[in-house]
């Protein structure tokens, strides 16, 4: 490489080159780039399923797939009730089988208290608990049941529906709605203590 004959010419060429390289990126291009990135992020968020291996086309999100899962038997209240029952709330004493513990905790399977036409008494028992002797299917039990009024109306309605409509347990009573539980809860709000069987039998079950 020979040194340039005229140093001034080289300097001029260098400066031209550096001018070209130093040209600023237009501001609209930068803004446009960020808009594209933003749109891309939104598109990914709504269609990408966040890389979940459980989300296949044509689905877009885990929530969508979850929403389409079959509910066994199609009865959501029954399923919720089953979950509440086995939390364990009821199952701790009455057992997952609903058969209770002989001599200690009465059974729910085929029980005349459970299968009453109107659920008023059962709702009261679940809300405030039960104290003292009670006769179920000819057997007398003398124990205490704790109140479950910390559960929501929906949960209590579901769990009673689960018990009353459980065909495997031989129960065939009507379902209970959260509105019914709410009404009973209002009525007994001045009754802070657990009910006794004697007291319950005086109340009309329709109330």
């Amino acid at each position: 490489m020979s040194s340039p004959a005229n140093p001034t010419e080289t300097t001029a060429a260098d400066s031209r080159e550096s001018q070209a390289r130093g040209a600023a990126v237009p501001i609209w291009l930068i803004v446009f780039m960020f808009l594209i990135l933003y749109w891309g992020a939104l598109y990914f968020d709504s269609n990408g399923g966040w890389f979940s291996a459980k989300v296949y086309a044509p689905y877009h999100s885990v929530e969508e797939v979850q929403g389409l899962q079959p509910v066994s038997g199609g009865n959501e209240m029954f399923e919720l009730g089953k979950a509440v029952y086995n939390r364990p709330t009821c199952a701790a004493c009455h057992q997952a089988s609903g058969k209770g513990t002989p001599g200690q905790f009465p059974p729910l399977t085929g029980s005349e208290w459970v299968n009453e036409e109107h659920p008023g008494r059962v709702i009261r028992i679940v809300l405030n608990g039960l104290q003292g002797p009670i006769t179920v299917e000819g057997q007398t039990y003398n124990n205490a049941m704790v109140p479950w009024n910390s559960l929501s109306d929906e949960e209590i309605a579901a769990v009673i529906t689960y018990v009353r409509q459980n065909k495997e347990w031989g129960n065939h009573a009507s379902a209970v709605t959260p509105a019914q539980v709410k009404a009973v809860r209002e009525k007994i709000k001045d009754h802070p203590l657990a009910f006794t069987a004697e007291e319950l039998l005086k109340i009309s079950p329709e109330e």
Partner: protein, 295 residues
């Protein structure tokens, strides 16, 4: 100027990023799938490992290049959610009123005759939220309904499958023979569509005896034509007309043909899974093999 190191680095980052994205991540996500339970009948495991003869059949399938004309993957373009009224209960008026009040698309105008001819689809292609709302309204009014999740798409319309294929379907396939050409019909669910082994054997020997418009080559070399010694074999194919062997001869399948049919009958891909939700009651009925375009 020397940009060698920069170019190398850029290429390295580009290639390794795609390797992480296209190879490593999917491997971590779905490379170790194991048997799962069917979401509808939870006592049922899916998929079931192939018995030995069907495994041999997979090799025959591979050796004869079936994969060049037959795919084993079902596509799905969407999912329809329908509400089916199955029991009206004691108060039909209340049911209709509850449905109208639920604001799910039932109005006074289209509510007439809702309860005639049960079970009946009362809402078609609604959102899952509305379907559940309608179902709840119906139940609270004392009637019974169910929510059907129905996959839709051209493959499903043709009767080739019930839902889109997922990674879970292939965990016992080595190699996975997805196929890319559809010169013949898709076989992902052929064990359910055409479960008759005799039909399958006949179809392999002489495709046009059972499907006149078929363009499949005949796989006669998987069969043997032999002289009848005493009693004819119970395996002999019931061939007629031009396809019938000469008098005193019979056509029986070789072990390869039997294995291939065992493999074909093991192809089931319709179990409802978490990633492929589907209501069993709603699944389209199995129809005969067709390669005609969807309606």
């Amino acid at each position: 100027m020397n940009y060698g190191a920069l170019i190398f680095l850029a290429a390295f980052i580009g290639i390794s990023a795609s390797w992480f994205g296209f190879v490593l991540t999917p491997q971590i996500q779905i490379g170790r799938e194991t048997q799962a339970t069917n979401t509808v009948n939870t006592a049922e495991l899916y998929p079931i490992a192939r018995p030995g003869q069907a495994n041999e059949g997979a090799e025959v399938y591979r050796a004869n290049g079936c994969v060049y004309c037959h795919s084993q993957q079902i596509g799905q373009s969407g999912t329809e959610v329908n509400v089916v009224l199955s029991e009206i209960g004691t108060n039909p008026v209340a049911v209709v009123e509850a449905l109208i009040n639920a604001k799910v698309g039932v109005t006074n105008a289209n509510a007439t005759g809702l309860s005639a001819g049960l079970p009946k689809t009362i809402l078609r292609n609604v959102s899952i939220g509305n379907a559940k709302k309608a179902s709840k309204a119906v139940r609270d009014a004392g009637a019974e309904s169910r929510v059907d999740v129905v996959p839709v798409g051209v493959d499903i319309e043709r009767g080739w499958g019930k839902r889109h294929s997922v990674a879970q379907d292939y965990i016992y396939d080595h190699p996975v023979m997805l196929g890319s050409q559809r010169i013949g019909p898709d076989l992902a669910n052929v064990g359910v569509r055409l479960p008759d082994a005799k039909w399958q054997l006949l179809h392999l020997y002489a495709p046009r005896t059972v499907v006149p418009e078929s363009i499949m080559p005949s796989y006669k070399f998987l069969f043997e034509q032999r002289k009848i010694n005493g009693q004819p074999s119970p395996d002999a194919l019931p061939l007629e007309g031009d396809y019938a062997p000469p008098a005193g001869y019979e056509v029986v399948p070789r072990a390869e043909a039997k294995a291939l049919v065992a493999y074909l009958l093991s192809l089931h891909a319709g179990a409802p899974l978490y990633e492929a939700p589907l209501s069993v009651a709603s699944a389209p009925a199995a129809t005969a093999a067709t390669n005609s375009p969807a309606k």
